[in-house]
């Protein structure tokens, strides 16, 4: 089978020592390592069909570039846990059982992310958003296991799994994600935080129009945090972020639901521009969730997935 992407190490050999060499894509090209190295923006990717080679150098956990200048492996350590050393981190990835568990699940994620990076790189932001959505659906395979381990209430777990397994997505999806996020991030300041979408546009009229489109797609005011500043920035509560992107997907990609305020073509002046505004913050949000998934699987040394 042809692999759609090829992964290339960008750190020189001398940049690794006997410990960190485990995190090298050249030496240890396992899906988990490729995924993490991709998220923190230290990888080069080759798209097979077009033979395009492009660097992925955006650190999605640090969109404000606070950690610029800190070496990638050191950044990665901090994101996994501030309590561990680089040696600890490398030991985690030296553990073969951990490294290869749920290989297939992580392979899929790596693929979806690579597609996202590729279409972002090509400035095809609408397509890139579709992949972010696919990532969300993929990650959610890991939710039931994590959820059950975080709560000790059988009834809660049972209801959660019932909703999940019944496949009644239209009804359960929103509440399901929200519940997951609340349980997984309980006690973390993130739960009180918000994610800001900066509405960059060529002029104020267009800016206002984009702002209105977001509000039209997601009319529920309770999604938005207090630091929203019309029309310059839209701030979405961390706990409501899943609802927000599910809304965007439904209103833009599904035009079926009658009576719902779907986004018509005239509402979105330029869909690639529109989605370019949400994609990075959404990838940031997904990275935060993914790091929790990782931490959970490290903590339990047993893994998640299919």
């Amino acid at each position: 089978m042809i692999a759609p992407f090829e992964y290339i190490e960008i750190i020189e050999d001398e940049g690794f020592d006997e410990n960190t060499i485990n995190l090298s894509i050249a030496k240890n090209p396992t899906p988990k390592i490729i995924l993490l190295r991709g998220l923190i923006g230290s990888i080069k990717i080759k798209h097979y069909v077009t033979q395009t080679e492009f660097p992925q150098t955006i650190d999605y956990v640090d969109l404000n570039n606070r950690n610029t200048g800190i070496l990638p492996i050191e950044r990665l350590r901090g994101y996994v846990s501030s309590e561990i050393s680089i040696e600890d981190l490398c030991n985690i990835f030296r553990n073969k059982k951990f490294l290869h568990q749920n290989q297939h699940f992580f392979e899929r994620l790596v693929n979806e992310f690579s597609n996202y990076y590729y279409y972002e790189f090509k400035n095809s932001h609408t397509t890139a958003f579709a992949y972010l959505y696919r990532i969300l659906e993929t990650i959610s395979y890991s939710f039931p296991l994590i959820y059950s381990s975080k709560t000790d209430d059988f009834k809660e777990t049972y209801n959660f799994l019932k909703e999940w397994l019944s496949g009644n997505k239209d009804k359960g999806e929103l509440g399901f994600f929200k519940k997951f996020v609340k349980v997984t991030f309980s006690n973390d300041p993130l739960i009180e935080s918000s994610i800001t979408i900066d509405i960059n546009a060529p002029n104020e009229e267009i800016q206002q129009s984009f702002f209105d489109s977001f509000k039209k797609a997601c009319s529920d005011e309770s999604f938005f945090a207090e630091d929203t500043e019309e029309p310059r920035k839209l701030s979405v509560k961390f706990t409501e972020y899943s609802s927000f992107i599910i809304c965007l997907r439904n209103r833009f990609f599904h035009l079926l639901n009658s009576g719902q305020p779907n986004l018509q073509s005239e509402d979105i002046l330029d869909s690639d521009h529109f989605f370019s505004l949400v994609n990075k913050p959404t990838a940031y949000w997904l990275s935060l969730i993914l790091f929790e998934v990782f931490k959970h699987s490290i903590e339990n040394s047993i893994d998640i997935g299919e």
Binding site: L190, E192, T196, K295, E299
Partner: protein
């Protein structure tokens, strides 16, 4: 009661007369509050949490920072405070609120509550300028100078300024001092500051490197606003003094010098200080030793070690009265229940 003006001076930059005065809430609501819609350039942003807190504080009788009321008058000449006072009260309906719109609407909301006291003093700044541009200039310079210091920065400065570490037996060193002239047994200033934040927010989880600073600051301010100031029977200084006292025991000091223990301690002690402060030092030492043994039995993963330490030390200190006398097995069981059920 009208507005009384006590002082007057001239602002040569905006060529205006400025006065300082006082009135009460009743007059403010009757004559000044209606002006809030007059000035077009008013601020839209409203931090709900902050003003909810202010509303509660008003009902408890806090004194608000002065409201700035401005007037535009072509040929102004005010020789004395008395002069200005007469002018202000005669022309109050033509005034503009330059600073304090949010405070006035909060005052109005508070005034609808039963416990509101309408005789409380209200201080004023009064400005009489000869045109609107000059007012706008002053408003812009007034509102934009106050930005900048983050709550964390403020707390760090306060920690350094307010507490007299020099008078203590235990030494406190900043990171810089530690690297230059490390002193054995010294507390880290950074840890004390983190403990202070935990104390003020009544929360042990105030850090996450994945949250951007701006958002983290909003969260901290929100938490401090939510913590009720009036229930502070305990001051942070009491904690510092207690720690200094018990630091004669190297084991107790060692336990408290683990940052995560200290953070949990600073939150937990809010509920148990009357019990813990009177314990003999030997009991405290035993209690801390038991904590360590029970914590080891838990065998938590390294990646979450700090988190559990903060949570469990908080839990342990908070419930000191019922837990300090228990044996290690019992504690370990309690701890494991605590870590599952969150």
């Amino acid at each position: 009661m009208s507005i009384q003006i006590f002082n007057i001076a001239k602002d040569n930059v905006i060529n205006s007369y400025v006065g300082l005065g006082v009135s009460n809430y009743k007059n403010t609501l009757e004559n000044v509050y209606p002006l809030i819609n007059r000035f077009d350039a008013q601020r839209k942003f409203l931090d709900v949490k902050f003003y909810e807190r202010l509303e509660r504080d008003i009902l408890k009788g806090c004194l608000m920072p002065p409201i700035t009321v401005a007037f535009v008058e072509k040929d102004v000449k005010h020789a004395s405070a008395k002069d200005l006072e007469e002018y202000v009260n005669r022309n109050i309906s033509k005034g503009y609120i330059l600073d304090g719109i949010q405070r006035l609407s909060t005052l109005f909301r508070a005034s609808t509550k039963d416990t509101f006291d309408n005789k409380k003093e209200m201080f004023f700044n009064v400005i009489v300028a000869d045109n609107k541009d000059k007012l706008l200039y002053r408003m812009i310079t007034l509102n934009n100078g106050q930005k900048g210091m983050t709550p964390r920065h403020q707390i760090e400065i306060l920690t350094q300024e307010l507490f007299d570490f020099k008078g203590l037996r235990a030494k406190v060193q900043t990171e810089k001092e530690k690297s230059e002239h490390p002193q054995k047994d010294a507390f880290s200033f950074g840890d004390i500051s983190r403990g202070y934040i935990a104390f003020l927010t009544a929360n042990v989880h105030n850090e996450n490197s994945k949250i951007i600073d701006e958002k983290m600051d909003q969260i901290l301010v929100g938490r401090i606003l939510d913590t009720d100031l009036n229930t502070y029977e305990l001051q942070f200084n009491d904690i510092i003094n207690f720690i200094d006292k018990v630091s004669v025991s190297p084991n107790v000091r060692g336990w408290l010098q683990v940052a995560n223990n200290f953070i949990g301690f600073c939150v937990g002690i809010r509920k148990s200080h009357s019990y813990i402060f009177q314990l003999p030092i030997e009991d405290i030492q035993t209690a801390f030793e038991n904590f360590e043994i029970a914590f080891k039995i838990l065998n938590v993963s390294k990646i979450n070690l700090g988190k559990y330490r903060r949570e469990l030390s908080r839990y342990y200190i908070e419930n000191a009265k019922s837990l300090f006398t228990q044996d290690v097995e019992f504690l370990a069981e309690k701890f494991s229940v605590e870590t599952i059920t969150e």
